[in-house]
């Protein structure tokens, strides 16, 4: 224990050197910007800035790149809350309640809780990283296809909890999401599905333009139906900071979000998106007033935002402990390590303690810097909402167009975004919700892939899912959730029927 603290102190020594301090600041600053700007994500920014790390020490370079990653998680929620556009794929869930809060004049508290939750989640994950890096790496590796399948099942049962209104409509949207997820190349057989000869679709529909269109563009289209004067935040901006009530309600979600986020972040392919969805659904399930979710419940912002930041810490586990990157960002970081002559893995902590502990200490420092940067900016962001909508919405559209192009330098992505923007607009008219579609779109392909891989592993026997403890556990949980939701629905339907007779 004492050794841990002395190592950490050493790490702080490393990070407080002027050049490392500067790079840490640069990283989190750029990361926040990238998070706020819809479209380009941390991977793009990190890969462009990678060459600029060549001339400095490995510690400084990695510190900066890591800063971009978790900084983006802070910034991503800003546009989600202000204009319903997810700045980052993981911030989609924040749109659900964060934007509603902004419409009620409570953008300030939403942004504030989001920043503080992100800070707590990030810091928690660093602490957990320090203590649990090696044991958790073994856990991460134990997750094979059957476990992923079970986890995805759990994730899909949670779709029901995302729905604000009609459950039936949410399920329909989920099915549509599953179908959209099938578009592209089937990775087990290599066959093309629903591609219709458009080669750009052969890798599937890109998630980010889809989300930006369904949430952001659709929102703009819905808004400009009404006379401009009455849009935007009919009520005056009531508060800038969260009040005591907000704090009380957010504490639980923040704690749970940290745990959920960290553990899901460890899994390759899991990460921040999954953790934010799971946190949202968990909070809605546990909440004493679930009807508020989707209408501006602060738990719906606190939990997911904490979770996605906690997931960033979790994502470092497989990288630092095993040298395996669980997502694209970590893969890039791995490359950055390699270019500096460092092979991450169990040897890292022995061969380059300055890099290991320096990076960990920099994460603490970076989180503090981000908190200090983001809180004062809340006042500025909130003022932005006062800009007349007829000036604001063309700017929103401009940024989303540029953002969706910047992901892959592809016009096609812009078309996807616009198409789904219109689709989203139509869906709203008929009161269908986008969130279940998006969740199913993400989880569906993963579920199918895991299912088929598992069957190859077991030579076709379904028993594999029940013979392995983790997958059995997760499946049992999914089934019980499914059944309990079913019972609820059944009970409500019965009430309605008996009401009709009395």
């Amino acid at each position: 224990m004492l050794e841990l603290f002395s190592n950490l102190a050493y790490g702080f020594q490393v990070v407080l050197q002027p050049i490392n301090f500067l790079y840490c600041f640069l990283g989190v600053f750029i990361g926040t910007l990238i998070g706020v700007l819809p479209g380009i994500g941390p991977v793009g920014a990190m890969s462009i800035l990678l060459p600029s790390t060549f001339g400095v020490s490995p510690a400084a370079g990695i510190i900066m790149l890591a800063g971009i990653y978790y900084g983006a998680m802070y910034g991503g929620s800003t546009t989600s809350i202000l204009v319903n556009i997810p700045g980052e794929a993981a911030s989609v869930v924040t749109c659900l309640d964060g934007y509603q809060m902004a419409r009620q004049g409570r953008a300030g508290p939403a942004l504030g809780i989001s920043a503080i939750g992100s800070f707590i989640g990030g810091t928690f994950s660093i602490i957990a990283l320090m203590f649990l890096v090696y044991p958790l790496a073994d856990v991460a590796v134990a997750f094979g296809p059957p476990e992923y399948f079970a986890l995805m099942c759990l994730g899909l049962t949670v779709v029901a909890y995302l729905a604000k209104g009609s459950l039936m409509k949410a399920v329909i949207m989920a099915v549509v999401g599953l179908i959209l997820g099938c578009v592209g190349t089937d990775m087990i057989s290599g066959k093309l599905r629903f591609v219709f000869g458009i080669s750009k679709l052969s890798d599937g529909i890109n998630l980010v333009p889809l989300a930006m269109g369904l949430f952001g563009i659709a929102e703009v289209l819905t808004n400009i139906e009404r006379p401009f004067k009455r849009i935007i935040y009919e009520t005056k901006i009531r508060q800038i900071f969260p009040n005591r009530e907000d704090w009380k309600r957010s504490m639980g979600p923040i704690i749970r979000g940290s745990l959920i986020g960290y553990f899901l972040g460890i899994l390759p392919g899991g990460g921040s998106i999954l953790s934010s969805f799971v946190s949202y659904s968990a909070e809605k399930r546990i909440s004493k007033h679930p009807e508020e979710f989707g209408k501006g419940a602060i738990e719906g912002v606190a939990g997911p935002e904490t979770a996605n930041n906690a997931a960033t810490g979790g994502a470092f586990v497989p990288l630092l402990a095993l040298g395996i990157p669980p997502n694209a960002v970590m893969a890039l970081l791995l490359g950055a390590f390699l270019i500096h002559g460092i092979v991450p893995g169990p040897m890292l902590i022995k061969q380059h303690p300055d890099v290991f502990w320096g990076v960990i200490a920099s994460m603490y420092l970076g989180n503090v810097m981000l908190l200090l940067m983001n809180l004062p900016l809340i006042g500025m962001w909130v003022k932005l909402l006062k800009v007349p909508y007829h000036i604001l919405f063309p700017l929103i559209i401009l940024f989303t167009l540029i953002g969706s192009y910047s992901i892959n330098n592809s016009i096609f992505d812009i078309l996807i975004m616009i198409f789904f923007g219109v689709v989203g607009y139509v869906l709203r008219k008929f009161q269908y919700e986008e969130a279940p579609l998006l969740l199913a779109f993400i989880l569906g392909p993963m579920l199918e892939q895991a299912f088929r891989q598992s069957l190859i592993m077991s030579n076709g026997h379904l028993s594999i899912f029940f013979l392995r403890p983790i997958s059995l556990g997760a499946l049992a949980l999914s089934i019980s959730l499914f059944v309990s939701t079913g019972i609820n629905v059944f009970r409500k339907a019965r009430e309605k029927m008996t009401q009709g007779y009395s």
């Binding site: 997750f143 296809p145 290599g190 890798d203 040298g323 395996i324 892959n408 330098n409 592993m457």
Partner: protein
Amino acid sequence: MSKMMSKRLLCFVVMIGCLVYFVFPNVGLTKEKEFPSKPIELVCPYGAGGSTSMGARIIAGTLSELLKGSVIVNIKAGAGGAIGAAYVAKSKPDGYTLFVFNSGSNGIIPVVRSVEYKNSDFEVFGQYAANLMAMVVKMDAPWKSVEELVAYAKKNPDALKYATNGIGTSSHLGMEIFKSVAGGLKIPHIPFKSGPEFVTALLGGHAHMGLFFVVDIKGPIEASKLRILAAATEKRLEEYPDIPTFAEIGYPEVKMTGWYGIAAPKGVPKEISDKLKDALYKTFQHPEVKKMLALLGFVPVFRDTEQFKIFVNEEEMKFQKIAKEANIKID
């Protein structure tokens, strides 16, 4: 001036300013500049974060300096590299579009699927790197050699599974050719989506073996979690000289390498193509570039235009043969 009028004046000034700044410089008022007079794009058909794109950035950096112009890496990922390749094949051959010509998009993929380009749509300049492959198993696996593995597989058909990073990859083709020459072994294939997923599958025991790039498995090998049984290379691996090659064991057909070079769409004017060739040769042989490529895990291998053309032809024929024998055809 009234408020309305001054607003209008401001708009007008801004408009004129934009016109002057953006439009005029491009309207032939500037004289012909020599190549390169605008940024060159180097298209990389694999995603940001992967070693291919990082290798491309290293090449782009030095090439920029030598050509005295900017070379920007443009990631156009998808379909195993086919999207980027198709994009370049259809681009104008003016020397401003270059491509990371590689064993994925230009070796295996055209053989196993129908794509919108042919290798003859490209004009290659040369090769700069290779990626060696080896067969790995988990550290505590019971087979100490390929022979033991083959024996076990023969006695227990379908019991073992192998992992790859996708269908139609060198990882996939390599194992299929091994299975076929080792006596028609029955080892089902579990495709995963990426290198890291492959490694995790092996580490977690979800698959028993796989053929993969040495660079991606170096970490776990150093950590004593994975073990190499044999190398699918011409000569023994430098870092692991005790490990035999497949040829030494009796399977000379099992030889797979990833290769990376630079190409342009066919038809680049000779002066520009000569200039590019010259700069590229210097880049590929530059000691700093070679050092960084090696750090990323590549083996810096230089083949000039003619040598590379011959090599690519040989590889194409090899892939076609393997795909036919192992009956791999995706669509």
